[in-house]
């Protein structure tokens, strides 16, 4: 899984029937401290992520291993909102509380 930051949303009214009602997020690929790399992806939101939050992305066929995405054309999902990252004993992201 990759780390990414939610930057915005993408709207598409003409789409495959299999993705009707989907909420798409514009996410920026991030390094382990949460810094953006300037590379952007469109991902399906599974967790209600908001702009600015650091999230976990699942990519590839693993995206279809959820009840909502089974048998649907999805290749990038937001599956979790990151609270903190501990890198070798140092909090590289979050960690308050």
């Amino acid at each position: 899984m990759n780390l990414a930051r939610v930057r915005g949303t993408v709207v598409a009214s003409v789409h495959s029937d299999k993705v009707a009602g989907a909420r798409w997020l514009l996410v920026e690929d991030c390094d382990s401290s949460g810094a953006g790399k300037g590379e952007y992806l469109v991902a399906l939101d599974m967790v209600g992520a908001d702009r600015g939050q650091l999230v976990l992305l699942t990519q590839g066929s693993s995206c279809r291993w959820t009840a909502r995405t089974d048998d649907r054309p999805m290749d990038t999902l937001v599956v979790a909102i990151v609270d903190a990252i501990d890198q070798g004993g140092t909090m590289s992201y979050g960690g308050a509380g």
């Binding site: 930057r7 915005g8 598409a12 009214s13 003409v14 993705v19 009602g21 514009l26 992806l41 054309p73």
Partner: protein
């Protein structure tokens, strides 16, 4: 979406599928990266439209591509892209708020 690809001689399982030439773009600046992909259309995309496509085994999950040897399928035509609260792309000039909803 930059154009179409025509191939008369092809696998029988590719018969009737529309092949589109896509240029990858930066989602914020919308500038082309000069990288091209051929994808199968499942939504009726036209030249100049911004689309998104799925790759890998997910490309076989639309009704159009079920059981077909596709590894890139266009699944949506983009209306608007919002970043940090501002629209970076607005196809029809009519979007003021990002879409919401949950897939059923």
């Amino acid at each position: 979406m930059k154009g179409t690809v025509v191939a008369t001689h092809k696998s029988a399982s590719m018969e009737g599928l529309k092949l589109l030439l896509l240029e990858r773009i930066d989602a914020v600046s919308l500038k082309g990266k000069g990288e091209y992909v051929v994808g199968i259309d499942s939504v009726g995309a036209n030249v100049g439209e911004i689309v998104f496509y799925v790759t890998g085994s997910s490309a076989r999950m639309t009704d159009t591509t079920k059981g077909k040897p596709s590894d890139a399928t266009i699944i949506a035509i983009v209306d608007a892209i919002e970043k940090d609260g501002a629209l970076t792309y607005d196809k029809a000039g009519e979007h003021s708020a990002p879409g919401t909803g949950s897939m059923q």
